[in-house]
Structure formats: structure tokens, C-alpha cells
Amino acid sequence: MDSPFLLSLVVGIFIGGVAGYLGSLMLSRRMALVAGPLGHLTLPGIALALMYGFDVSLGAFPFVILGIILIWLFEMRTKLPMEALTAVVFASGVAITFLFLPIEQAEAALVGDISRVRFAEATLSVLVAILLFLVVKKIYSKIVLMNISEELAQSQGLNIKKYNFIYLGSIAIIVALGVKMVGGLLTAALVAIPASAARNLSRNLTQYAFGAMVIGIISSFLGIFFFKLTGFPPGPLIILASTLIFLISLILRKQR
């Protein structure tokens, strides 16, 4: 076993696990779909990072923050449907990227490349992932209540704005971490699929939340492992592994 492989495996497991965990919150009210346009919007940032050789997540982060602000403005200030935002953001992200990104770099930008990860970058990613896990754990039940009903949450004295801010911030960070693994195109799948599979299999909230995390971890492990075996890009393999788990969960669910 060589060390770049191990490094990518460790990073993949941490990011995949937290993405699954946070994704379990995003499944309600179709928030998981938001990760899609956010991922697309990071493409110009990823392109810059690839061209100038710095951490892809760092390149993606300012763009994802821009995306969060756009979502916030859309939700608060206009009555336009979210779909409009998705279309606009998707198109502009991809268009800007292909204005200047050399085509040979496109694959890494679109579907990620965890195998390129270096030690310092890996350490930072793992630390951020652990921190993010702790934050999400702290806000988890409050966000569940807010997702069920903001009024109910308010009647419990929750500061909705504060928790929304932390929640959106967490989404921004997971998208920035996620593009490293699965690129700008597949981030929505990274958060949505493990949670969807866990939903099919779980009977309560704890099983669901930790199930999503475990499925995220297993998918990343399998994806990176099969990348090592087959040489296909790891990002799509990770997503396909989670899709496979989702299909299995559908079958198991029918049997119950």
C-alpha cells in the first residue's frame, strides 16, 4: 500500500462521513438540491485552484459563500422559486469555468480527483471535517425542529436566524470539501444519496443520522478502493458506490 492511496482513503472517509451526516439534515424540504447549484458555482474557483496549483477546496470556498449569499437573498428578498436560482447559477458557473479552464483540467474540476491530495491539504481537510461534524452534532436536533416547522422552533425560543446561519455555513464548508472528492458536478449526490439510503433503512432519528454517516464512509471507501483497482476516476466511483447502496436499501425496504 502506498501513501497517496492511504491519504486519499483517509480524507475520503472523513469527508464522505460528514457529508452523509449533514446530508441527513438536508433531505427535508429538498435542501439537498441546493448542494447541486452550489457545487456548480464552485467550478470557476476549482478551475483557478487547478491552474495555479492550490487547494481545490480553498478555491471553491469563496464561490460557495457567494452561492449561499445568493440563496439567502433569493429566499429573503424575492418570491422567485428556487428552480430559477438553480438554472441561473448552474449555467453561469459552468460557462465561466469553460471560458478559461484548459480542457485537460476539466475532468478534475467536474468530477474531482481525491488521488491528487497532498499531506498538508489532507490534514487540513480532516481537521475541518472533524470540526464540522462537531458543529453539526451540536445543531442537529434544532435544525430538525426548524425543518419541521420554524414556528414550532421559535415557540421553543430558538434563534432561527442564528441556526440558519450556522446551518448554511456548514453546507458551504461541506460543498467546498466535497468538490475535492467528487468535483463541481456531483456534490449534491455526495450529500443526498447516503441520507436517502439511510432513510429507507432506519426506524428512528439516531439510526437515520448515523446510518447516513456510515453509508457516506462506506461509499467513499469503496469508491477510492475501486479507483485503485480499476484506474477509473474516484469521484464518480464514490457516487456509484452510494447509488448501489441506495438500490440495496430500496430492496431491503420492500422486504420489511
Binding site: R29, S141, L145, I148, R199, R203, N204
Partner: protein
């Protein structure tokens, strides 16, 4: 504030999006009262409950008795089935949840092992009762109740109002109830507020629910004759 007084509202005004929703509303609630807020759709009833809960900005005075615990029963929760949630999970989303969840469950008529039941598997009548139970978690003295689906029998023989009346006795509750359904008012209320942006009547239902005030409240759209039992 007098010791038995739970809530005093003075000259309440609520304006949302520059539109006046509630005007010049004053009333009092004493311990053990059931106050019904009656009015047509869009009259500001739910807004009033939310204002009382402190969720909306207002002018005037809202004064709750010191240290009072308020439980809120929402109208419906369309997003609750998005994720797997047991009844216990749902109760535990409330910070004040602790012991006593099983007692609450049995006082809304469920067996204790129902706590592990998935919300998504409940019938609509069962879900109504779980919503009320949620309001009771943390043992509040006051229950604010936003318009339940009227006419839904929550068990085979009980309507939600009979059920509430029973609950009130058992748990010594004071209840504020919003509805547009006139027939329930006589059944359990001690007082009624007729609200159509401005208060139209306020007092015990037998005294204030006259054909005159009802005509004014519903602007001629509803005819109702008081049953003399």
C-alpha cells in the same frame, strides 16, 4: 397582576407587511379558563396566537403571569414525514423534554410502547393527538391550540374538543383555542373573542354570541342559531 390571572392583553395592534392584521384588542385569561378565538378565515386568529407566543412584532401590552410555561399545538406539520422520526424523537426535539413522556402519551390515549412508533405510520387522528401531546411535553400550564382539522374524530367516539375538555380537567390546563368553527365554542369555552381584525365581541359565549354580533363577525355569510339545551 392578580394571582389567578394568567394573561393580560391591552390594546394590542399587529401590523405585518404594512397591513393591519389585529387592532385594539384587549382581553384577560384566568387560570382554568378556556378562551376561544373565533372568526372567519383570514381574521387574524393564528396571528394572534403567534403574537402571544412572542413570534411576531406588536404594539400594546402582552403580559403573561411570571414563570408560566406555555405549550403550543401547531395546526399541521407537512414536512414532518421527510425523515424517519419516532414519537420519542419528536418529543425530544423539545428542550424541556425529560421524564414523563410516557405519562403524556397515556393521557392522550396511547400505550406507552407507542413512543417507538414512527410518525409516518400514524393515522391522521393519531397524529392530531401526538401534536397535542407535543404541546404537553414539559408540562405547561397553558396550552395554545391552533385550529385543528375540524370534524376529524381523533378516536372512534371522540371529537378533538371532547378530548381537549377531558385533557383540561386531567392536567389542570388553561387553554387558548383558535377556531372558525362556531359549533365548538359552546361546548368547552368559558370565554370567546370574536375577531375579525378588530374585536367584535368578548365574553362568555352565552352572553356575547348574539345573532347581531355573529352577523357582524361573518359579515352576513353565516347563519347560526343558538341551541338551547
Amino acid at each position: 397582576m392578580k394571582s389567578e390571572l394568567i394573561l393580560r392583553v391591552r390594546d394590542l395592534h399587529v401590523t405585518l407587511d404594512r397591513q393591519s392584521i389585529i387592532e385594539k384588542l384587549s382581553f384577560e385569561v384566568k387560570k382554568g379558563d378556556v378562551l376561544t378565538i373565533l372568526g372567519p378565515n383570514g381574521a387574524g386568529k393564528s396571528v394572534l396566537l403567534k403574537t402571544l407566543l412572542g413570534l411576531l412584532p406588536y404594539r400594546g401590552e402582552i403580559e403573561w403571569a411570571k414563570g408560566i410555561k406555555i405549550g403550543y399545538v401547531p395546526q399541521r406539520l407537512p414536512f414532518i414525514k421527510d425523515i424517519p422520526l419516532t414519537i420519542q424523537d419528536f418529543f425530544e426535539l423539545k428542550e424541556s423534554a425529560g421524564r414523563g413522556m410516557e405519562d403524556i402519551l397515556s393521557s392522550v390515549g396511547f400505550r406507552k410502547d407507542f413512543l417507538q412508533k414512527k410518525i409516518g405510520d400514524l393515522s391522521s387522528g393519531q397524529f392530531q393527538r401526538i401534536l397535542i401531546a407535543w404541546g404537553l411535553v414539559g408540562n405547561p400550564q397553558v396550552l395554545l391550540f391552533d385550529e385543528p382539522t375540524t370534524g376529524v374524530d381523533i378516536t372512534a367516539e371522540e371529537t378533538i374538543y371532547k378530548f381537549l375538555a377531558k385533557l383540561k380537567e386531567e392536567r389542570e390546563l388553561t387553554i387558548l383555542l383558535v377556531t372558525h368553527d362556531l359549533s365548538v365554542v359552546y361546548k368547552i369555552s368559558t370565554d370567546v373573542i370574536c375577531l375579525n381584525r378588530q374585536p367584535i365581541c368578548y365574553g362568555p359565549p352565552q352572553d356575547v354570541l348574539t345573532p347581531e354580533s355573529l352577523r357582524k363577525l361573518y359579515a352576513g355569510e353565516v347563519k347560526y342559531y343558538q341551541h338551547k339545551h
